[in-house]
Symmetry: C4
Subunit: 198 residues, 4 copies
Amino acid sequence: LTSGRVEAFSDGIFAIAATLLILNVELPRQSGPGLFEALVEQWPQYATFAASFMTVGIMWLNHHALFVRIHTVDRPFLFLNLLLLLTISFLPFPTEVLGRNFQPGPGGQTAALFYAITCLAIALGFGGVYGYIATHPELVSPRFEGADFMAGAPWFLIGLAAYCVCIPLSFVSPPAVLALIAAVAVYYVFDHLPRPTS
Amino acid sequence: LTSGRVEAFSDGIFAIAATLLILNVELPRQSGPGLFEALVEQWPQYATFAASFMTVGIMWLNHHALFVRIHTVDRPFLFLNLLLLLTISFLPFPTEVLGRNFQPGPGGQTAALFYAITCLAIALGFGGVYGYIATHPELVSPRFEGADFMAGAPWFLIGLAAYCVCIPLSFVSPPAVLALIAAVAVYYVFDHLPRPTS
Amino acid sequence: LTSGRVEAFSDGIFAIAATLLILNVELPRQSGPGLFEALVEQWPQYATFAASFMTVGIMWLNHHALFVRIHTVDRPFLFLNLLLLLTISFLPFPTEVLGRNFQPGPGGQTAALFYAITCLAIALGFGGVYGYIATHPELVSPRFEGADFMAGAPWFLIGLAAYCVCIPLSFVSPPAVLALIAAVAVYYVFDHLPRPTS
Amino acid sequence: LTSGRVEAFSDGIFAIAATLLILNVELPRQSGPGLFEALVEQWPQYATFAASFMTVGIMWLNHHALFVRIHTVDRPFLFLNLLLLLTISFLPFPTEVLGRNFQPGPGGQTAALFYAITCLAIALGFGGVYGYIATHPELVSPRFEGADFMAGAPWFLIGLAAYCVCIPLSFVSPPAVLALIAAVAVYYVFDHLPRPTS
């Protein structure tokens, strides 16, 4: 089994999950003069859409950066990768729940907690794939060294730690949870995995 | 006609069908303090989502394992492959029906039966593609032997048998149907088709 | 501009349009004992789903058969191809309208007419792409001869004629329209474009 | 990081966004004799569907024309490209809002303004990617010259200017906004980026 088709299938899941997010933004019931205010009032749905889109986009980017480092896959790896894709494809649902329940109070706290737990599950899913590669150097392409992956672990742990912080933060402030998750996405665009040796 | 583009098109259908599943999970009507319980109460929708996602993912994996063994396709093969993709793309509907009708009683039995029949149809669709390759060695890549396919038949029949068991089981216990179908998916991640000779 | 990426983009539209069809099948409102009958009663939605899925699948197949015959594309060709993809991606809507309005009477006639007109538009869109290639031999791959395309015109006209017949037929019998369109799809699986000379 | 997989992922987003548009067209509530008129009355939904489909299709085409001119990507480029894809995947929502609020008056004006702003954001997102390539010749493939990109700027500015005109135009006539945006799409099919030197 080569890694090429697994990556193509994974890319499809990432792209579809990111694009489906917009289907959960609600059509305003008002028409006529009230439409403008109705569109403005549902800004939390646009904010959660954007944060989730960037999160999926960045997870895709890092997933791709992992895959260029491997040249073969085995069955446990495929299983771990499917679990990661399962969490990615689940994200549109907590995104919708948070977008519709962004107001202060217990509803917003529950929605932010649900969203943060899903992001944490995505990070753990990514950690499963990452950890499996780090501990199975036979999957790694000859151009890279397995030890580099262990050195790259702190890079992965920053995102994991940020998502863990979001769990208690969701009881304090749903907007802060959303801002932190969007910040993690932007951070990962500019940080990156170890480069090839040689 | 080469098999490459047929596989790319099929991969697209598998990836989209898996990712669309989340759109059928229902947004809770409650907001505020009742949101937490409402999210917990619809756990059957998450369970059916996960089981169907893994089933589609594993069918994709085995479909891919079949396609690396062939190097050309003909028209009857394309027709059988389209029938398989038809059953795959139908799966989100019985998944939604089962997730919303998971309670004990006739509704849950009907939904589990509908879900099990769809899974059986997918297995039969896969069997059609598999059987056609096994009986048409001219499609098989020179690196593989047609006889290996006949030897691999028991591998395929295990899943078929499990889905057949789900038909009567649906009258007894919808959760057991879901658990068995999820178990088949996990089983097929780790079992596999005959390896290339040489 | 090479034809490869245009084909990949087109393949994506075909695969997504085929897989989205299931989202328009309605979740039955009944639960409990009434669920079985409710699922059976909405059989027209499954029939229109299957007919449209096969139609999109076969259009993909023939679109692919056209593209292996060309090696370059120009701007008017891209425009005609986009028009074809526009009609393909529109198909889920008339499919939904026909599946929900299948009963005898003016509603079913209107829905069947709308469905038949969309299929005719798809065939005309395909005819535009086909005709442009037939009259622009500079796009055709050296392995094929442009004259073969003119010889293949009757092959295309059979489908066009069948869809034209569906227009008056929709006033007589919506089920007959659906059956004829499904028959055209099956017919095109087994018939095919001229083979390469050489 | 090579540009190939970034383009494949982007192509997926474009294809999915274009095909999802149809899901926002409303199923008429009338059945029976009233179905025909109901289908005719919602023509603005078909018009906005077609305009957005062509806009996404043409943006894909021009995005592809940009990517054949580069051979490597860096992190800021990836971030700008994700922002462009974010605006593309948002388009189905303002398309739905405009299709349902096309009548004269403040509702139609708001919807047309929202649609025009989204198209302007898409153009600005495209401008960000275009401008980054024009100012970073190290990304440009050796077959092309960076200076050509600066020469192509007026080509890009025509679309940007047309979308800017749509902002005030939305207060005058929503249909004119839609017609202008569709005209821009058709214009870009036939106009094109500078050809390779040599």
